[in-house]
């Protein structure tokens, strides 16, 4: 199967990813927008049965997903790697309440990055998330996205773990300047 839609130039996997998340019962999509999450955000906005929730800072999404779980709903936090740093103390809530937590992190500051300001946080994503008890999985190839997020969904919502899937720059491409 071709990896890109020739008419639009967009990858197919984000659409399959949205369908996977919805099929797993995820209804709350919270985000500070990033180009890497454009399809998921647009699909959630167009979906009458999903809630699409723009945030002013990513830590709001951590708290939102804890509240969703208290109410019996499932959500996902979509953020760029720079937003991971904004979440750190709020992840205490996930650990303390043993809440399931799923985030998809579109990476900057790694493979092919052309903006030096992105490196400090991009390179710190894994150590800081792991320090707060979040398991990190990586997807580097389009074929890996669906199986990796499927695994993360099981880990989060069946086993109650906090899981981040890093959508790497090898997967989504580096921004050109």
């Amino acid at each position: 199967m071709a990896e890109f839609d020739r008419d639009t130039g967009t990858a197919f996997w984000p659409h399959a990813l949205y369908d996977l998340l919805r099929g797993a019962g995820v209804s709350q999509f919270a985000y500070v927008p990033d180009a890497g999450h454009k399809v998921l955000i647009d699909r959630s906005l167009a979906d009458p049965d999903a809630q699409s929730i723009p945030l002013t800072t990513e830590e709001e999404g951590v708290a939102l997903l804890a509240g969703a779980d208290l109410g019996g709903a499932r959500g996902v936090l979509l953020m760029q790697s720079s937003g991971v740093g904004n979440c750190i103390n709020m992840l205490s809530l996930i650990a303390g309440g043993r809440f399931p937590f799923l985030t998809l992190v579109s990476m900057r500051g790694e493979f092919g990055e052309g903006n030096p300001w992105q490196f400090p946080m991009g390179q710190a994503v894994v150590p800081v998330l792991e320090a707060m008890g979040v398991i990190c999985l990586r997807a580097e190839h389009p074929d890996e996205v669906i199986p990796t997020v499927s695994a993360a969904l099981t880990m989060a919502f069946q086993s109650g773990q906090a899981v981040a899937v890093l959508l790497t720059q090898k997967l989504i491409g580096a921004k050109s300047f």
């Binding site: 800072t57 709001e60 708290a63 969703a68 208290l70 103390n89 709020m90 809440f99």
Partner: protein, 193 residues
């Protein structure tokens, strides 16, 4: 002066959550959690003991998940100031079933009663209105609190309650987050397994 209130915080919270029925309550860390616990521990209270700045957004996630229940977030001015962006995020989401009551003593009460921004210059009700909340109110006496109570339990209302900075005895409700979350979900009937 410094924009201080005179309301007794325990009397205010007792009024807000009297005969709570099915009301879902989230309390911000520190004194708001002690106040809600002192008014009567119950399974449908979720107390925060940390996660400063998160109370309002927990309320939003819960309100979106439970559209047929009403959610009341009770928190302090310092906690609300730390999560002020949530007022914009909630206004964007427009849940009809989420209210926030800020117990505003214009102090960071847990840390030595340092004056907070509401004691300097900031009006949180005006902030909420500017963020897009259609209904905001400020109460300075118990008659006003009594008038706001049914609205806080049924409308999308942001209310600032100007309480006295006087300290009250600590009342410590359960603090194990996993226990509180599990108890809450079971009472709501959404626990898995």
């Amino acid at each position: 002066m410094h924009n201080e209130g005179t309301l007794d915080r325990r009397a205010v919270v007792a009024e807000l959550v009297r005969d709570p029925g099915e009301l879902l309550v989230v309390s911000g860390l520190g004194s708001a959690t002690y106040d809600v616990g002192a008014a009567g521990d119950r399974a449908l209270n979720f107390y925060l003991w940390g996660a400063m700045g998160g109370a309002a957004m927990i309320g939003l996630g819960l309100a979106l998940a439970q559209p047929h229940r009403h959610v009341l977030v009770l928190t302090g001015d310092g906690e609300m100031l730390m999560g002020m962006g949530a007022l914009a995020s909630i206004a964007a989401a427009k849940p009809p079933n989420l209210a926030i009551a800020v117990l505003d003593n214009a102090r960071f009460g847990e840390t030595g009663a340092q004056r907070s921004h509401t004691g300097h210059a900031t009006d949180l009700a005006a902030v909420a209105a500017a963020c897009g909340w259609a209904e905001v109110a400020t109460a300075r006496d118990m008659d006003a609190v009594a008038a706001l109570t049914p609205r806080l339990r049924s409308e999308a209302l942001f209310a600032v309650l100007k309480i006295s900075p006087a300290e009250v005895p600590r009342h410590l409700p359960p603090r194990d987050g996993a226990y509180l979350a599990d108890r809450f979900r079971r009472a709501l009937g959404v626990a898995e397994g």
